[in-house]
């Protein structure tokens, strides 16, 4: 008897409580949901918003989302073309760093994205500036602003001179959230052609030997060397992590001819390679 009344009430209660959870107004989809604002850069009628997951720039690989706001209409511009140029001011010279082009984020109307790999910074996060060039309706604009780049706690990027007298920059992209598993390791490799140009290095091999110095240089099995993937211009390999903690990812950079440009084998005598990245989880 009573159940007859209770059940419909229960269902209604359930239905309404569920439906209130996702009352997203479709007209204002938040396209930067889950991202933190790093900085805004104002330039006349436009404001550029820079986002990433942490809300700060750090050394290493930074995936960055951008939005371009029209200050008069307070709306986001969807059909601009953008490019950028990060610059580090040193006492005697200046240089840039590896970066991608900026393109429209897949499936989004207002968000553009790309990455920048800051290979170094000053201790107080100073030194870097970012120039953004954009084009709206065939008109070019440009703005330069000082940015803060903080030192990441681990060595997630390496800048080094190879035995071929070229300077290379290597940056860890994945795993972002490592686990006790076989993780997909993704690395970006760039050559410093000059102070401003950092092309992707293709078809090299990056030999991988992960170690735990805190555990008597314990290693893990079934890692694979990283190889170049020409679909997205990154290097991929398998990284096995057998426990949480601090891992040193010892690397060797080998060119297409099989010549080792940087790094050494880890042996009893040689605890670590001179080329390595670090990981902590």
């Amino acid at each position: 008897m009573k159940l007859k009344y209770i059940l419909p009430i229960a269902f209604i209660a359930l239905f309404f409580s569920c439906s209130t959870d996702d009352d997203n107004d479709t007209s204002t989809i938040n396209e930067v949901k889950g991202l933190e604002l790093i900085q805004t850069i104002s330039n006349g009628n436009e404001t550029i918003e820079l986002y990433n997951e942490k809300g700060i720039f750090e050394t290493g690989y930074n995936r960055i989302s951008l939005r371009l706001k029209d200050n008069t209409t307070d709306s986001y511009i969807e059909d601009a073309t953008l490019s950028w140029m990060p610059m580090m001011q040193m006492p005697t010279m200046q240089h840039s760093c590896p970066k991608s082009t900026i393109s429209k984020a897949l499936g989004k109307d207002t968000v553009y994205e790309g990455f920048i790999i800051y290979q170094m910074t000053n201790e107080d996060s100073s030194g870097w500036s970012l120039t953004i060039n954009y084009n709206i309706d065939d008109t070019d604009y440009s703005v330069t602003e000082t940015i803060s780049v903080w030192q990441y706690e681990n060595q997630n990027t390496a800048s080094f001179m190879g035995s071929d007298d070229s300077r290379y920059i290597l940056a860890l992209v994945e795993p972002k959230a490592p686990s006790i598993a076989v993780n997909e390791m993704k690395v970006g490799l760039f050559k410093m052609q000059d102070m401003m140009t950092f092309p992707v290095v293709e078809d090299y091999t990056i030999a991988l030997d992960p170690r735990m110095p805190g555990m008597g240089n314990h290693s893990s099995p079934n890692n694979t060397d990283l190889t170049f993937n020409n679909a997205d211009n990154f290097y991929y390999g398998d990284l096995s992590l057998t426990m949480t903690g601090y891992w040193k990812l010892n690397l060797k950079l080998i060119n297409a001819n099989g010549e080792v440009l940087k790094g050494e084998d880890v042996t009893e005598e040689n605890e670590a390679s001179s080329l390595y990245l670090e990981l902590e989880f």
Partner: protein
Amino acid sequence: MKTLITVILCLLLSSLGFTQDNNKEIKKDTTKLEEVLVLSRRKLSNHRQEKTLSSIDDYLEKSNKITMIKRGNYAWEPTINNMASERLVVTIDGMQIFGACTDKMDPITSYVDVSNLEKVTIGSGQEGTENGHSIGGGIDLKLPSSKFNGSGFKSGLDLGYETNGNYKATGLDLEYTGNTFYMSADAIYRKSDNYDAGGNEEILYSQFEKYNLSIQSGYKFSETQSVDANLIYDKATDVGYPALPMDVSLAEALIASLTHYYKPEDKVLKSLETKLYFNTITHIMDDTKRPVVAIRMDMPGWSDTYGFYSKAELRKKKHHFTLNLNGFYNKSLAEMTMFSNNPSEPDMFMYTWPDIRTLYSGIFIKDDFHFSEDETLTSSIRLGYHNNKIAKEVGIQSLEIFHDTVDEQSNRFLVSLASTYQLKKDNYNLSVGLSYGKRAPSVSEGYGFYLFNSFDNYDYIGNPNLKDEKALEANFSFKQKFNDFEIGIESSYFHIMDYIIGEITPNVSSMTIGANGVRVYTALDHASIFNTYVNNSYKVSERFAINGTVGYNYGKGNDGENLPLIKPFSYFAEFNYNTPKFTAALQLDGNGTQSNYSPKYGENKTADYAIVNLNLGNVFYNKLGKTVLKYGIENILDTKYSTYADWNDFPRQGRNFYMNLSFVFQ
């Protein structure tokens, strides 16, 4: 192979056609393998000059086919037919219970004490499958059976002291027995410091301390029905393991059960016993007492088991049937945290048992068919469904580092078949048996992750894709009596297929600092284990008797390598003198050199040894009850020795004077 199974099955089925009562002999002699009685302190007369307060481990070691693997002075691991925990089924009164230590520092036998038990039943090979699947055999630690005999209030006190290790033990028990209600409680406390090996060499980290409490109570509803509740709480702290790099700061178990008994009279169904049970174990390893370690670690483990069984005894004409329907659910979780020596680096963590759930249900049927005056055909079958599940996603992922495919769940169908023919004549006994059985891999074998084995100095990785281990077994025993002289021989042969063992994985680095490498569990195509024992006894006079045993064991894999932990040639001799109030025994116990050792699995050649023990006992009767005094000297010659079963060859106790005093008030 298939034909053999068919043969066994036929034997089994054919026996179901005939009938009669089987007078199941309960052998009280501890050197016989069928059953070992852990005798209560009140039954001295049955007792063979042992200490009244000796541990279960000591009791078990007296059996022919049981050898205890020792990693310290506490929590020894029983082996039957040269097979250890994972090949045995060890139960407490039919209750499944699994240790929570990944390094086998807590065999089930360490969570109960003699005061909790009435007897221990040992079944060799497939004869031990009443409570579960095994290859080597089964040990069932029986709780006291309920009694409603109206004997009233009874109490007892035991005191024990041993000089070696300054070992103290105290036991107290209280019991009230009415006609429809009974309740008994007992407590035991044991504490030992480091013991000395022969030559007064102190063995560091051989101390232990433990106490055990148990309460049992029963109520009888009617002539045919009663219920029993039993609760055991066991806690060991500060247990040293001299042979291992770590000690134990806590090993705690709570074992609870509720049993219903139904005993109809004059019917085919003789008894029906149904038990619901639960047990939980917490095991915490500890290295804080070790001054030098490569890295500090925390290694806790937990094991919870819920289960039931329902067991019926039926008698019809010449048949005696035992049916047992049982099931359990176990959850095993163990983890390891390593504290980095470099304070800037974070702690390291892994699941060594990634929350493995085991669900088992099965049925066991046994028929003792007494088809003629002195012949019995015993046949048994156990069928079971075994399911393992990795409950932690990270567990699957971590095993995927080593294995291409790791399924979240694995299902196994297990079977055990056994048939034994027994002939009992006045002056000789003969028994021949044939059986086949399977077992599922243990949690460590299937899912362990970097489990360090200090015996061979390798880290072990589980393999979730292992096949069932299968064994074909043949056993034989014969006993002949010539007036006061008796001689017997018993032998078992096991042909084990897909014998699970760790195989070195080259070029994989160990996790444990200083270990030799990593082994992943895999299987040998087949292995053979054989053992034979010759027992004899001679009754010189009414009071004086001599008995002796000589044993030979053999174990080899199909690769020609010796299997590890195979007992070398062994012998035991005892001279007994018995009067109703005084007993004395002089024992000689020894092993030959272990020449067939297994260097591949970390064994070295263990030298031969022989030790001499003297055990004495007196009984005094007085108005209040009786007093039992047991005293003696173990290892009289203070020999420094270790056996093949001593982990990393750490030496055993040197000379030890002991005294146990028991008061029984009635």
